[in-house]
């Protein structure tokens, strides 16, 4: 191939990518048309592409729309790269946005690092205190506050005893790279003590290790609890398969895991969580409150969902109190 | 100067492909002379050089240099007493460094290397005079990276570097085989000048019978790990060598 041709091809590819890139980011930003008297500019710093994070973003935007707040949204996604999320935050600071909405812990931490003046709202952060984002949930004490996705774990774990009081050993598979996961495993162990359960936790660092991890504990457990863990969520189908074949009941921290095959979940909706954050944004933008005055929240509402097929596979009684008032999925 | 005693060496031992190169081989190399070692492919001449230098370990036997038994010394320890010029012009130099830097490195052979600066102004004159002796114009290229030099220039540099610290024994491993005839001649002449000037004991493996005769004082021909000719070079003619060679080749074909 002649060198001049190769260069032409490379230039064309580059231009195509750049053009499609501009178009794409223009589309997903949900930018309101530029009008006179545009009130607020909000920068969304999302860590990665992920259904839960996407839902948290959509809920946020909808909450503001429903509240009739006039916003221009600048959406940026760091594709999992922390230095990029830092650069995104710094870019928002330079642009003097009125508020930064950070989705996921590293994005929130980067945003906090980038500014101590501009209000930063977070969601999809499991433990805002341990992550250094707020001093305490009740008094955030800075320019950062938000909605934590900490699950109502105690209620969820107690469902095991509701299903069958003889259940004792609970398995948990988690991704050692996700700090949120470690935190959840520790919390689970604390609650387990109170509930008369024992946690058997196995960590993985790669999605390929998950089937073996399940196999390694399947004979020792009476039930499995799936925390909110991005890696496990991606592999939930195979985890559910193994559990259901072995007749082991499973509880998921959130609904999408039940859709993937787990038995039941009494969990949060990231969309609703995003809406909570959106409401907090309204307070800051419209009511002029400062983040330090707004306590950080946990998920306000929970929904119980169960998987019809799994229920039947495990031979359980659909009239059991655990499933009362719950939505059925996966029919 | 160099004594090889009862040398045994095989390759691929205990397999179907075992090759016995030396079986109880003996050799004495005299001081201050250049001994040429020639022979057909597979006769063991390169292996012999590698055994002396330490690149290959012996199976059995002793190698004694200047009265000291170096058989169990590792290659880099032996290197302090030896000098070696390889067949490939790239093996004796550091291509990304300049001539000056290469010479500075060679100059430190035998000393301990520290965090002091390598290139010292006080050595410049010495290096320049060494390069001038080569008569190749390299003294004007002190700061040229060696990778830009021709094969012949690099071999000449390798030669100086190998001989610089007056080694007990200099090993020339077919060091002009990769050069064109003209350059090869230049390098051989420079080699002779160097050896004469400093009286360095030399073992020269060569593929070129003419050069071997011309530039050495003693010629040894090997075949299948045995010495089949060992005479002062002036007593041998090229024709005589060629005849023996052909006879040996014929033997092989028949065998």
């Amino acid at each position: 191939m002649k060198k001049s041709n190769l260069f032409k091809i490379i230039s064309v590819i580059l231009s195509m990518v750049i053009l499609s890139g501009c178009a794409a980011s223009g589309g997903t930003g949900g930018e309101a048309p530029a009008e006179e008297g545009e009130k607020f500019v909000v920068g969304i710093n999302q860590l990665a592409e992920h259904p839960a994070l996407d839902a948290a973003r959509d809920g946020f935007v909808e909450a503001l729309e429903e509240a009739g707040v006039d916003v221009e949204v600048k959406y940026q996604n760091a594709q999992g790269d922390i230095p990029t999320s830092l650069a995104i935050a710094q870019g928002f600071v330079k642009d003097e946005v009125d508020l930064i909405y950070a989705i996921a812990t590293p994005a929130a931490q980067s945003s906090k690092q980038a500014t101590s003046d501009i209000p930063v709202l977070f969601s999809a952060v499991t433990d805002p205190v341990a992550s250094g984002l707020v001093d305490s949930m009740e008094s955030p004490g800075g320019n950062v506050t938000g909605a934590s996705d900490a699950t109502p774990m105690k209620e969820q774990l107690s469902m095991f005893k509701q299903l069958d009081p003889s259940i004792e050993q609970i398995g948990i598979v988690f991704n050692t790279s996700e700090s949120n996961s470690e935190i959840q495993v520790e919390r689970a162990k604390e609650f387990a003590d109170e509930l008369g359960l024992e946690i058997v936790a196995v960590g993985v660092s790669n999605i390929n290790e998950i089937p073996q991890a399940v196999d390694s504990i399947i004979n020792d457990i009476d039930g499995l609890y799936a925390i909110t863990d991005n890696m496990v969520a991606s592999a939930i189908a195979i985890v559910a398969d193994k559990l259901n074949s072995a007749g082991i009941p499973s509880i998921g921290a959130e609904g999408s895991l039940v859709e993937g095959g787990l038995l039941v979940s009494n969990g949060i909706s990231y969309f609703e969580l995003g809406k909570q954050a959106g409401e907090m944004a309204r307070k800051i933008l419209v009511d002029g409150m400062s983040p330090a005055e707004i306590p950080s929240e946990k998920a306000g509402t929970t929904t119980t969902v169960f998987n019809q097929q799994t229920l039947e596979l495990l031979g359980l009684d659909p009239n059991h109190e655990v499933f009362q008032g719950a939505e059925a999925v996966g029919e | 100067m160099l004594k090889v005693r009862n040398l045994w060496k095989s390759f691929n031992s205990d397999t179907d492909f075992q090759i016995d190169v030396f079986r109880g081989f003996n050799l004495d190399i005299e001081k201050n002379k250049c001994t040429a070692i020639i022979g057909p492919n597979g006769c063991g001449k390169s292996t012999l050089l590698n055994l002396v230098s330490g690149s290959l370990p012996v199976d059995k036997g002793q190698i004694i240099l200047n009265g000291e038994d170096i058989t169990s010394l590792p290659e880099e320890k032996r290197a302090l007493k030896l000098g070696r010029v390889h067949q490939s012009p790239s093996m004796g130099v550091s291509p990304s460094l300049t001539i000056l830097e290469n010479l500075s490195l060679a100059n430190k052979k035998g000393e301990s290397f520290s965090l002091k600066g390598l290139v010292k102004k006080r050595n410049l004159e010495l290096f320049i005079s060494m390069l001038k002796d080569l008569d190749l114009g390299l003294e004007d290229k002190l700061h040229t990276q060696v990778k830009y030099l021709s094969g012949g220039q690099r071999q000449s540099l390798s030669l100086i570097m190998a001989a610089m610290k007056h080694p007990d024994l200099l090993l020339l491993d077919e060091h002009t085989a990769a050069l064109d005839p003209k350059t090869s001649h230049v390098v051989m002449e420079k080699t002779r000048e160097l050896l004469d000037k400093h009286n360095i004991t030399t073992m020269m493996v060569s593929h070129h019978m003419g050069d071997a005769l011309k530039y050495s004082q003693r010629i040894i021909m090997l075949d299948k790990g045995k010495i089949i000719l060992d005479k002062p070079s002036i007593d041998v003619s090229e024709k005589e060598l060629l005849d023996i060679y052909k006879a040996k080749l014929a033997e092989r074909i028949i065998a």
């Binding site: 580059l14 501009c22 594709q79 650069a87 700090s179 | 093996m91 500075s104 060679a106 002091k116």
Partner: protein
Amino acid sequence: MNALILTSLEQGLIFAVLAMGVTITYKILDIADLSVEGTFPLGAFVFAKFAMAGFSPAISSIFAFGYGAVAGLITALLFVKLRIRPLLAGILTMTMLYSFNLRLNGKANIPLFSYDSLFSDISAIVLMVAVVVGIKILMDLFLKTEIGYLLIATGDNEALVRSLGENSNKYKIIGLMLANGLVALSGSLMAQYQGFVDITMGASIIVVALASIIIGETVSKSSSFLSITTRAIIGAVSYKLIGGIAIDLGLSPTDLRAISAIIVIVFISYNNFSSPFIKSIKKQGGRARVKSKKPLEEL
């Protein structure tokens, strides 16, 4: 645009330390050392450990360098003593470091907001320029010492090193220790810059390092007055600048990775084709000659 350029410069300078480190293994010693994916976060986690224990940021950063050097020693010993191939040795060290990093503080993510960092009292750009220039000068000086030259010779031609009576393994060990020390230092600087430590910090860091080195190589390729360290610095800063421009242009970040790869391809092709480009012009002259029917002697 200014602030984004500033950010890119600052991050670029932090990665310049990484690039200078990887230059030692990749360019000078010609060893593909993948352990950097573990050593970079190692520096961050070590910094966190010592900072939280009450040590000053400067001391904590030095500790980071030290632990990185030890990690480099492990990789070196794996392939020098145990004869494990360098590529595999690096991967093994990286794998071991993953668990080690998690164990250091027991957490995968550690906020550092309430601790002093080197950036607390000085502006980031000033500090980073000082740090990078300082490291560059030290490295340039080192490469002019006797040991430094042996390091270069080891990467060039191990036989030569041996012929000088030296053990080339010793210099591979020195090189790997230095390189990984610098990589860990870079990791500790990044942790201080972003305000927290996260176990995912090392992912794809080798791409950043190699891209920086390759871009640096392209800059006046044949000009030897630009030292190897300067090229690493230029490469890292350019890499981050290009990334920063991409963000500023509003490019969908999904494309950022593809663009990084394309940038590297463009630079490599430019590197490879620029000489034949000139040669092809000469060739056209040659073709004209051959077309003529004049006898060879006249040519």
